[in-house]
Point group: C2
Chain length 356, copies 2
């Protein structure tokens, strides 16, 4: 997950609902339902004078059109504002805009925690998932007669098809294991980049249905003894998650950090990314310094001149962006390994539980 | 002013007080007084359990040493935290860390607005300013017998020498014109990158004493009919501020933006960089969309896909970083010119007044 990617294409002519080349790297056209009626009704009911809109990176380009539609419907005098902060999940609500507005609408992620002032508008993909599930079952899943147990997980944007996916597998003789996970997750079978509690099921193979490798790689790191089969309907690709490169990078970072004399301990101030107790515990050591920030980027750490960093915020910054940082960036457990409090063999993927 | 510069050198062996190669591009060694006794006394008096420290970019490297010294003096159980947010002035207090801490210390800038919870620790340069003032007077100032009137301005870090600078000029026969400016400025003769009200004096030449060209270029743009002589004791250089390149860029940006069909209007959420009324006024037009953010960077705007932007936050992002943005970035007045509400000849440097 690269924060503030600079990828860009010029605004192409696009028809309504077309999200291709918007930075989401999705090949399928989509029609979204932005639930404008619900937003207008809430604004009306609360007599709101200010409305804040927050979109994930890939949907920001739709922001002005959503604002147009809302301004056409809302009374004169209601001010619509969009968040210009980066946004990578429901853990990442723009709390400044939230404070400034009477109604705050967060698009594209399922709720991490409900609040009266926040409207969460989920956005579901309309891509057909079954052709790629067919290929995944044929090519990579163990046949039901050999191993009927399979876990099933997906992301928020495919949750609308989850029951059908499950029935599809059951029709083919599988016993499908699903669970809701912990309170960071809204739906049964849902995974986040930082939380795979829904995959703690009694099966040696798990089918992930969704776009990209970001989620299944985390899943495979969290469950190293499980076969994670990826059915990607967006890129029309089937594969098995391979964590080898990630794990090599983790071991390399831990080894490099063993020489560190001074540590920066990052406490992330994003609403759903703070782990205060973990940060506080490490900072009790004299050679560790607590640093607070929202976006965690190499540029922001450079000037402190410390030898290594521990990131108590989003685990995916550590695992996915880690190599971009000039000093080693470790998870809290990797820190304990680097300073000799835990053995190297204990290394596990860092996950994030609970809300705020 | 480049936000989040990626310049960096490896941590060299450095003796106490040595700030060379710390990113400040200053050639002189310095001894700073961090006023630790005052901070310790305040923590004690308030029974504070948490202390937040905020440093400008060039001083962040000193942060861990200041934290060391404080932790040695403070009672066990007091947690010291450093802000990892970028920091470019007293307009840019880390309000998140401010909320999280009982005592908040802002280093290196003079107060923009006092608050009981905030300790401002000014940091003064010990560089000798008089040799370079001598050169500036000889090479660029009009001789006192030809034009005795001269304005005198400097930055917060040289304020400790201001009275001596003034006396030095008076000794050479000049009539020195100084004023305090508006309530955004703490000291008589002080300038900020966004505010030159202290230079509204009755003189056709102004002597700026301080490092770099950032401040005198703003001063010369704000006062285009005044000769701004730069006496830079840090880089040992004398010159006259030349705004030609900047002004060409401004005109080019305005011309380019005249074709814009959709505008993004940026409201900056930094505590001392918000101009709500100006943002709100522009957004009353249907083709303008309000976007809120703290750091204003090209990456954050890219995904909105608008044609041009109006920055109501820090004017120096517009003038100094403007060319880095892919779409034209205008000041509020430049927007009015681009849409035909004011003539091109009216173009003035954008300055920021008041506090919050």
């Amino acid at each position: 997950m690269s924060q503030e990617s600079s990828e860009r294409t010029d605004p192409p002519d696009r028809r309504e609902g077309d999200l291709t080349r918007t930075g989401m790297a999705l090949k399928h056209d989509r029609e979204w339902d932005y639930e404008l009626d619900r937003i207008v009704a809430e604004v009306d009911e609360r007599g709101a004078e200010t409305v804040g809109l927050q979109f994930p990176e890939g949907l920001k380009r739709r922001g002005p059109r959503v604002a147009d539609d809302l301004r056409a419907e809302l009374p004169d005098g209601v001010t619509v504002m969009m968040s210009g902060q980066p946004c990578y999940g429901a853990c990442d609500l723009d709390t400044d805009l939230l404070r400034r507005t009477d109604v705050f609408v967060h698009f594209g992620h399922s709720p991490m925690k409900e609040s009266e002032k926040i409207i969460y508008v989920p956005l579901f993909s309309n891509v057909d998932v079954f052709p790629i599930m067919e290929r995944a079952a044929t090519e990579e899943l163990a046949p039901a007669e050999d191993d009927p147990d399979v876990g099933l997980v997906t992301t928020a944007q495919h949750m609308n098809k989850f029951d059908e996916m499950r029935a599809w597998l059951e029709d083919r003789g599988y016993t499908v294991h699903v669970r809701k996970g912990d309170d960071r997750l809204t739906h049964e079978g849902q995974v986040l980049g930082c939380n795979y509690a829904s995959a703690d099921v009694d099966a040696e193979q798990i089918l992930y249905v969704g776009g990209g490798k970001f989620h299944p790689l985390g899943l495979a790191m969290e469950h190293p003894d499980t076969q994670v089969v990826i059915a990607d309907p967006v890129n029309n690709a089937v594969s098995v998650a391979d964590t080898e490169q990630f794990m090599k990078q983790r071991y390399a970072a831990v080894h490099k950090a063993m020489d560190a004399e001074e540590w920066g301990v990052i406490f992330c101030t994003k609403i759903g990314q703070g782990r205060w107790d973990q940060a506080r515990e490490i900072v009790e050591n004299d050679d560790a310094y607590l640093i607070t920030m929202d976006e965690i980027t190499p540029d922001r750490l450079t000037n402190f001149g410390l030898d290594a960093y521990v990131n108590t915020g989003c685990p995916r910054i550590t695992t996915d962006d880690g190599p971009q940082f000039k000093q080693p960036m470790l998870t809290p457990q990797e820190y304990r390994i680097a300073v000799g409090e835990e053995p190297l063999e204990a290394l596990e993927f860092d996950t994030f539980h609970g809300t705020w």
